[in-house]
C-alpha cells in the first residue's frame, strides 16, 4: 500500500460521514444548540447582569438584555440581540465526522461533543457581546465595554468566530484519537483503527 493511502482513505471517510452528519445537525440544531446557549448565558453573566433571558426563536437565539435603548422617534425600550448559534456550532457535525471516520466509537463521540461545548459557548457569548459593542458607544458603555474591555471583547469575538468553530473539533479529535493520529503519521501502512 502506498504510504499516503491510509491518510487519503481517512479523508474520503471524513467527507462521506460529513454529508449525513451535516444533515442531521442542521435538522436537530434547534435542540442540539441549547446546551451551548445555556453555557453562553452563564459566560455572559460573568461579565455582569446584562442578559435578562434568552429566547429561542426557531434556529436563532434572542438575547433579551437589561440595556436601555432609545429609538429614532424617542421611544425607550430594551436592547434585544439576535444571535445565530449555528455559526458557532457547525463544528458539531465536523467532530462527529472525524470521530466516525476514525472509528472512535459512540462514547468518544459523546465525550468529544461535550468537550466542544465551552468553545461553542465562547463563540455564542462573544458574538452577542460584539453585537452590543457594534450597537454604538451608548449601549457599549452601559454594558461596560469600553477601553481595554472593548479591545479584549473584539479579540475574543475574532477567536470565537474565525478559529474556534473549525479548530476546536480538530483539536478535540487529535487529543482523543492521539494513537490513531500517530498511526496515520508514523506507521500508516499498518493502521488498524480501534473498533467502536
Amino acid at each position: 500500500m502506498h504510504p499516503r493511502k491510509p491518510i487519503l482513505l481517512f479523508a474520503a471517510r471524513i467527507l462521506a460521514w460529513l454529508v449525513p452528519c451535516l444533515a442531521a445537525w442542521y435538522w436537530l440544531a434547534p435542540w442540539l444548540d441549547r446546551p451551548a446557549a445555556w453555557l453562553a448565558q452563564g459566560l455572559v453573566a460573568l461579565h455582569g447582569e446584562l442578559v435578562a433571558s434568552i429566547e429561542i426563536d426557531g434556529r436563532l437565539l434572542d438575547f433579551v438584555t437589561r440595556l436601555a435603548a432609545r429609538t429614532a422617534s424617542g421611544e425607550r425600550g430594551v436592547v434585544i440581540v439576535e444571535v445565530n448559534p449555528m455559526l458557532s456550532t457547525y463544528g458539531t457535525p465536523f467532530l462527529a465526522a472525524l470521530v466516525l471516520a476514525s472509528r472512535g466509537g459512540w462514547r468518544k463521540l459523546a465525550l468529544g461533543l461535550a468537550a466542544l461545548l465551552p468553545f461553542q459557548a465562547w463563540s455564542i457569548a462573544f458574538d452577542f457581546l460584539a453585537q452590543v459593542l457594534r450597537a454604538g458607544p451608548e449601549t457599549a458603555s452601559q454594558a461596560g465595554l469600553v477601553g481595554w474591555r472593548a479591545e479584549l471583547t473584539a479579540l475574543a469575538y475574532q477567536l470565537g468566530s474565525l478559529l474556534f468553530p473549525t479548530l476546536a473539533p480538530v483539536a478535540v479529535w487529535v487529543a482523543m484519537q492521539a494513537r490513531y493520529v500517530r498511526q496515520l503519521a508514523g506507521t500508516a501502512a499498518a493502521v488498524t483503527p480501534p473498533a467502536g
Binding site: M86, L155, Q158, L159, L162, L163, A188
Partner: protein, 166 residues
Amino acid sequence: MLRFLSLFLLILVGLFTAELTRPAQEALVQPWTATLARLCAAVITRFDRHVVALGDVLESTTNGFAVSIRAGCNGVEATLILVAAILAFPAPWTRKAAGIAAGVAAVQVLNLVRVVSLFYLGQWNRVAFEWAHLYLWQTLIMVDVLVVWLLWLRWVRVEPAPRAPA
C-alpha cells in the same frame, strides 16, 4: 503531545493576534485578499468573460451579483493554523519550510475553488450559497488543513532528512 499542543496554541494565538493588527492588515491581509480576488477573476475569465475584480470584490458584469472576500474567506486563518501546527512539531527546519510552502499552496488553491464556487452558487440559489458559505466550505478547508498536516507528518517521520557525509 502536551508540549506540541501548548506550543501550537502559543504560536497560533501570536500569529492570529498579529494578523489582526492594522499594520498586518494593511501590509499583508488586504493586499493578499485583493490578489485572491484578481486570481479568481483570472481563473473565471478563462470560461466566463463577464466578471471583474474590484479590490476584494468579485463582480458579475451581466447581473451585478458580487461577492466580497472577507476575513474567514481569504484562507488566512486556515493558513495560520497550518503554519502553527507545522512550526510546533519537532522537525528539521528545511522540512518545516517545505511543508509550509506546499501546505499554504494547497490551502490557497482550495480556497480559490471555494470563492469561485460560491460566486456561481450565489447567482444560482441564495439559500445554497449561505449554507455552503457559512458551514460547508469552512469545514472543507479545515479538512484540507488536517490532511495536509497529516501528510506532512508522515513525510517528516517516515523519510529521514538527508544527512551530510561525516
